[in-house]
Symmetry: C2
Subunit: 322 residues, 2 copies
């Protein structure tokens, strides 16, 4: 029997799973990431939790995989930076953990890791060309092309959230302008809602839910209001879906994928959001690729990051990427 440890390092929570070689989750652990501020404390916390999981089994795990929210070089095991976790610039995370733990460690971007999980056990199983998107604070993406994770020349491929939606528009955190994320990232959805409320849009259900306290607004509340038929919530989600659909139309024309998988918080708006996205892709993309592509919600939910990290560990170990 061989074991892997999969780690889903998130800005809010870090999750650990002990997996067997069929990627079944045997043990689970987690901690709140902000409890360990700074590089040093967080690395120590990772080590401690890994050692704790290892105690439960007789043998060493064959390898450890980690998905991180940021830009990494998986070949060097180098974290260039993490989004929303300060103090992580140019950290050789692989080498540091291997030195202290004596087990092979592999790292990759969290959306790439999620794409691997969907490829092995989710909607992408048996598919060749798939775009995976996560909607949330940011808009992330991972690409499966010709049946394999496509990382790009400097491992930064997949940034569907930073495809421009317009020639000109508001500045984006990435340094660009008018990127998709700048319109449909969580805080921008909330901002648009507040603007429309201030302009006097009718919103009986949403107003009731937040009791005029704009600080209560978030995508979950907006989804709740949508399900209860609030007209403003409908307009907001319609617009989110339309904008995602326009950018996807471009990706569908460029890559002709057979599937687009969408996961993450904003996807909580469910079938209403998917309908708006699909309708827009149908209207805006070319006929042949538009007819081919299926746009579906992610199958794997909370464990996707852990399982994907375990798959990463095994794939890279097999590939001889030491």
């Amino acid at each position: 029997m061989s074991y892997y440890i999969g780690i889903d390092l998130g800005a809010t929570r870090t999750k650990f799973g002990l997996l067997n070689d069929e990627f079944k989750l045997l043990r689970y652990a987690e901690f709140n990431t902000p409890e360990f501020p700074g590089k040093k404390l967080l690395i120590q916390a990772l080590e401690k939790q890994i050692l704790h999981l290892r105690e439960k089994i007789k043998f060493k795990p064959k390898a450890i995989g980690i998905g991180v929210p940021g830009l990494v070089n998986p070949e060097k095991g180098l974290v260039y930076y993490l989004v929303n976790i300060p103090g992580w610039e140019n950290v050789y995370l692989k080498r540091r953990l291997e030195n202290s733990l004596g087990v092979p460690v592999f790292i990759d971007n969290d959306v790439n890791v999620m794409a691997l999980a969907e490829l092995y056990f989710g909607r992408a199983k048996g598919k060749k060309n798939v775009l995976c998107i996560t909607l949330g604070t940011g808009v992330g993406g991972g690409l499966i092309l010709e049946g394999k994770l496509y990382r790009g020349t400097s491992f930064s491929a997949g940034e569907v959230g930073h495809i421009p939606l317009n020639e000109e528009g508001p500045s984006c955190n990435c340094g660009g302008k008018a990127c998709l994320e700048r319109y449909v990232g969580n805080r921008y959805i909330v901002e648009e809602t507040i603007e429309k409320l201030k302009k006097g849009w009718s919103s009986p259900i949403l107003s009731d839910l937040i009791k005029n306290d704009f600080s209560q607004l978030n995508p979950e509340i907006l989804s709740m209001a949508l399900k209860k038929g609030d007209p403003l919530a409908e307009a907001i989600w319609q617009n989110v879906g339309r904008r995602i659909g326009i950018v996807l139309a471009g990706v569908v024309n460029l890559l002709n994928p057979e599937m687009v998988i969408i996961g993450g918080g904003v996807a909580g708006a469910g079938e209403f959001l998917f309908k708006a996205i699909r309708q827009t892709v149908k209207e805006r993309a070319m006929r042949i690729p538009a007819e081919k592509v299926k746009i579906v919600p992610a199958k794997l939910k909370n464990d996707a990051g852990i399982i994907g990290a375990g798959i990463l560990a095994r794939e890279m170990l097999k590939g001889g990427k030491r």
Copy 2:
């Protein structure tokens, strides 16, 4: 010694090359495509010219490759439709020519074929991830990913000209809206120039070149005026470069390619156009992929289509794609 025949089927001219197995051009022939209107006459003309080239050599060619301006299924050898050549819907071109000629025939989209030529003998040689673009009447694209031609799930990948530049905008021939091609395709560049002339933009050199006859306007004249320092021509090409650059910023973020190769008529505006494109990509794309990507003119000119078609023939013959 083995031979291939490469054919570049174009709406204006169709070019034929007899190639040796190092893809050296041994014989060349061409005709004006519109002289053979309709499917039947054009196929006969292809057959006649192929037989004529074959007479020059002792042996049968090993295979024939054809690049066509439209959407094809290379596995079935099926032409779905050709752009700007009427009467070509759902033609099994491969089977028809194989039946009459008794030689294996392979077909693909013309920009894919050009990408193959650049991969073997041009700027993409030794590169893994490259986007090839042709600028002209339309804006076409071909993708090399992981060192191989990437065709997509239904062979329609690469349509960089149909990535939306804006949320809303003018209708495009493809059925979509606000596509890049709708702004920088030849006729739209000309339209924009005429609009600006009518608005009274100062354009001493260009006005002199066209002598107030708008029908004289085309990208070649605009390039000429640019080289002589005409301010309107500069503004037009600057805007073309900026718009191409914005869409490329999205592609660079999505695919993280090491190179973008640009060929075709509009690229005649030369270094001025490339500078505007590069500047925009630098401003709008994310730092890491933007630093990686080189944006360069195509190396192969007139013979790219013939040579690429020969490469296609050999690659598909080797791949057992009979």
